[in-house]
Symmetry: C5
Subunit: 303 residues, 5 copies
């Protein structure tokens, strides 16, 4: 996630520098042709640009909107992961009871909660196509890590371990059947969340949609100097460059928003969120040693 | 689902080649009339195109948006199918217990999970109007296949077999009543998902809506050369062709997005998703032999 | 629901023929005044139309969108009715058991499922302000029909009979308390669905909203010839007619979409959906005799 | 809720008569200045209006959309109140049983259902800032009315009486614990509905948003005659008036839609809906005497 | 939340005074250059502004829409907090019973309900980065306050105390297992609500999105005088200022709406809502002494 401040200019404009450079040269060429060779017939009124500009603007605006929706949905899902991780911890801590000895099952409870922390990191890392196992091993036993490692999606394995523990808890009488079902429905929600993240990750934004807008936009830009040539003289070039930059930047912005799990500064900050979950859950376990600090942002973004 | 890369140019433009060809000829004809016969009065200012272009652009943009929503909803439903297939498998594996002999009901559990795999394939094939029975037979017994075959919608039959097995499990004491109800609510969600897919499949996008936009767009295109004729000379033809192509491509794109179960490259990749579900569920059953590979995409799309 | 094909031209344009005829005459009159009496000062530039056209186009587009949302919501609700009818049938068939004699309660189960079929037809007919009782009588006993007939909304009566039967089933021990509550929550969802349909049926789309758009659109059309008169000569009339038709058709389309239970070709096809529910539920009961065929569409629509 | 027909012209245009009158005078003044004093330099091309018109149209359209969404949400909530009132009545009638004497608890059931009717009226009246107590007293005992009267929000008091009765029913053995929880979740939904209504009632539509659109719109209108003055001569005044009316009416319409509980003709018809709930619930209780008629609409609206 | 009336002009325009001042000077400078030095070639037609204005207007409108959605979601969440606080109080009051002595657990119930009041204040204060502990101490015991103070997010601590009390209530037999699960699901919803608020608080609106619109808007404003210079003479300056103000105000409005927990007049009125919750809950406890008054608004807003 980009922060509000400190975004370097290089980052902002770096993405479009080649396009803009090309357009500048292209504009200068046309201006030269127009002025030096007096081929004034290439000047055309801008009405054609108005018609074309309207449809492109609309599609670009709608497309930004859809990209924003994907980005926001990804954030909503991770917000829900925060909520259900806390809920799971609360339910584990307060619904599970050993009728004979209050503290006997504390290690069991803490094992589940730490596994939940591992699950968050595993999902975050997995979505970004990084290996989650090193982080997972920090929070679960070697035996469990081995079990998990056999899965394509490590987070499915972790959830299955949750389910197995929950089943055990019922057999031991630590939860009653209604409580088991209630906690199981929390697991179901976690399962939904991870599926939603995978859906956003794995679904390519409709290629033809992006492509047609991209082509139409380029065609519009190519036509633009013919409308400007008469009006501005050589001042046309900076004007052309700025207009081009406006349109290209908006297109690029949509492209970044629409894929929020790509290890880029515009990503949903899954690791930072996971770290906060870790802090919350450890505070709920009242485990004060080994408390991680909140993740410090890099210069202009947090991951 | 189209991939990000490798989309052949033939695929992109193939859909509109006849329209564009016709428009090109039409434009040339008008240019000839204008230039050779000096009927300059046919030239009209483009303001009329601005007014018409605005309403058409807006409708086209809204319509793309609605088509996108259908496409995205189809993908969301299949994402939810992934989630609830995993949830069903998790619940079957962890909630069902034989109090006397842990392993006695493993075959029973595996039968249900394999039937769930069959359900996914059956739904995917059925939506595309392919015969799902060959695939279904691979995952369920001959007897069950026969039962299922009597249904119009094979997936309803499979779900009913799930319900029957679940009822049996209660009678045998493998699940307690709360667990039965909890698993039954997973079946209810699966039933909702298949109904949502059928709804998207069976509901024609409002014909008049498409038609009026289509007609207005054609009228707009027919009027366009009269606005361009004066400005560009014979350069009008490529400009006309590109503008036409922009509008037609966006219309076509919307048409493809709005029907996501048609055996076309823009489809929701139901078979590929089903294959991933198969892999996940088999890993949950720890059934390593007979593990299918993830579906390889064809050159520029996956189904 | 209109089908994709075969929509007769008369149907498409029939709705606006008087408006268009009037506009044609109006346009001719203005052209005559302009040309014969040389009152050229009535010609005005089209910029005013651009401003007015933008706001009207926007409102028309948003309004089409809202009408589309109503239409789509109606279809979603009927999709949910399909889902929950199947769910009810599944739950009745698999959750209800006579502990002593499996088959003893089959007639009871079938009575509930047939009543559910009646409920669908009753709701569909009722929404269209047709008398649902003839169809209801085909699926329930005379006694129940009499009970139902005393209600304003027959579907409420049928749902209450469901509830009464469910209560009986608990007393007889055919369902356990959790199962009763689970099936009752299916009834709650059915109750929600019928309420949603009634809401769409009974809520007039904001009259002032429609009216202001309607008035603004007419004013825009009335102003249009003054902008066109100079540009096209008598060619203005067909151009004027086509533009008018575009705008009017889009308005009409929105009006049709926004009221989906009016016995018109653009309706949500509630009877056809109910027929499919009947087929599905009868197949679930394995009642092969008396199986209705799927409803054949009329020439260009299904109801 | 306004009906489809019979809306008096006075109602439609009454809201904007002073604005329009002022604009007419203003337009005439400018025309006089232009024509009599020959200060033609005040005429400006309309392009500036196009730019300004686009942003104002967009904001007005989006804002209408948001106002529509509030209005539609209010209607959806009241639709859900219908549904859950019916559900509560169904659950009370069919889930509550006295194991010894079927009819012994009928008065108790009817008391709850009548209180639900009171709840609907109380909520509707309360939202409109009318005193709900006279109506409430018609449906509940004096003792209960006194209890309720101590609450700021009478509907909260009624809901608490529901909860108390439900608790009693459990103690008496009229419902089992699962049924209690199921009915309690219906109360929770009712609690949500009333909160949603209060949210819509109490949340001022962002004042700055309305205000900036309002100011921009006025500025646009003030600038408009300078664009029209050259084109139309004194015909400008009616054109100006109509354009102004279009924009102002759309703004006013949005203002009315956004506040649906204000005792105005555009309100959500909460009393009429409550009356229908009363009819439905009394039919469910089979209480035929004392059946109210459906509320007759006033000339062009129902409340 | 801003009220409908009394918003001081200083507040409305204060936010943009420096921008507007700069633009005014800038416009005057250009006018002087144009008129005094007769460099008329700097005048350009406004078509370029139309194209640029369309895309900027669209993006600004969509962005206002997204900001509005955030603001409205924040309000919806706080509405849901009202609902679930009431629901929790209702459930605590009516579902919890001591089988032997009705009144014995009243202090216990009141402790939970007061803690719920504390939770609302703690969340509201915490979101605004104020210290919630002084307010929290007013409603919970010193011991509980100490427990809570160890959490980063005080509201998580309060929720955990709820869960612990609920667990106690089950052990004491004051609630049965189904009731515990039902109340626990209310806690889960409260946990969701607080997570949603934190999500809105902590998620920066996409910086690049804001930034690109901001840049494009400034570029558009910088270009504007060149279009106006020829048309208006020195009248250009006020026109320029007003147009600039329109665009800037709309941008500022979006920026305020998108961050609703910042201790600003446009905030969601979390303290005022919490106060109303306190009143409702105290009335439900029938605790008439110590009843706070509803929060009086400051001159033009409530917090």
């Amino acid at each position: 996630m980009l922060l509000k401040k400190n975004i370097p200019i290089g980052y902002i404009f770096g993405k479009i520098k080649y396009e803009v450079l090309f357009v500048a040269i292209y504009g200068i060429a046309i201006e030269i042709i127009y002025q030096n060779f007096h081929i004034t017939s290439i000047s055309i009124p801008m009405t054609i640009h108005t018609v074309l500009g309207t449809i492109i603007s609309l599609l670009l605006a709608f497309r930004s909107n859809q990209a924003y929706d994907r980005w926001w949905e990804a954030r909503i899902v991770w917000g829900a992961i925060v909520n259900d991780s806390r809920t799971l911890a609360r339910q584990v801590l307060s619904l599970m009871n050993d009728p004979y000895d209050e503290d006997a099952i504390t290690p069991f409870k803490h094992r589940m909660i730490k596994r939940q922390i591992a699950w968050c990191y595993a999902l975050g890392k997995g979505l970004r196509k990084n290996d989650p196992m090193p982080l997972v091993r920090k929070y679960v036993s070697a035996e469990e890590a081995e079990f998990v490692d056999e899965f394509d999606n490590k987070h499915i394995g972790l959830l299955q371990l949750h389910a197995r523990d929950l089943n055990n808890a019922l057999k031991q009488g630590w939860v009653n059947p209604y409580q088991q079902v209630e906690i199981d429905s929390t697991l179901t929600r976690l399962c939904d969340h991870m599926g939603k993240c995978e859906r956003i990750k794995n679904t390519v934004f409709p290629s033809t949609y992006s492509l047609y807008i991209h082509l139409a936009l380029h065609f519009f830009i190519l036509l633009l100097p013919f409308g400007l040539v008469e009006l501005f003289g050589f001042l046309m070039v900076p004007v052309l460059v700025v207009i081009t930059a406006c349109f290209f930047l908006i297109e690029k912005m949509a492209i970044h928003l629409q894929d929020p799990f790509e290890n880029k500064p515009t990503d949903t900050p899954v690791l930072s969120i996971s770290r906060n979950i870790e802090r919350d859950l450890k505070q709920m376990m009242r485990e004060k040693h080994d408390m991680p600090t909140a993740m410090a942002p890099s210069r202009f973004y947090i991951l």
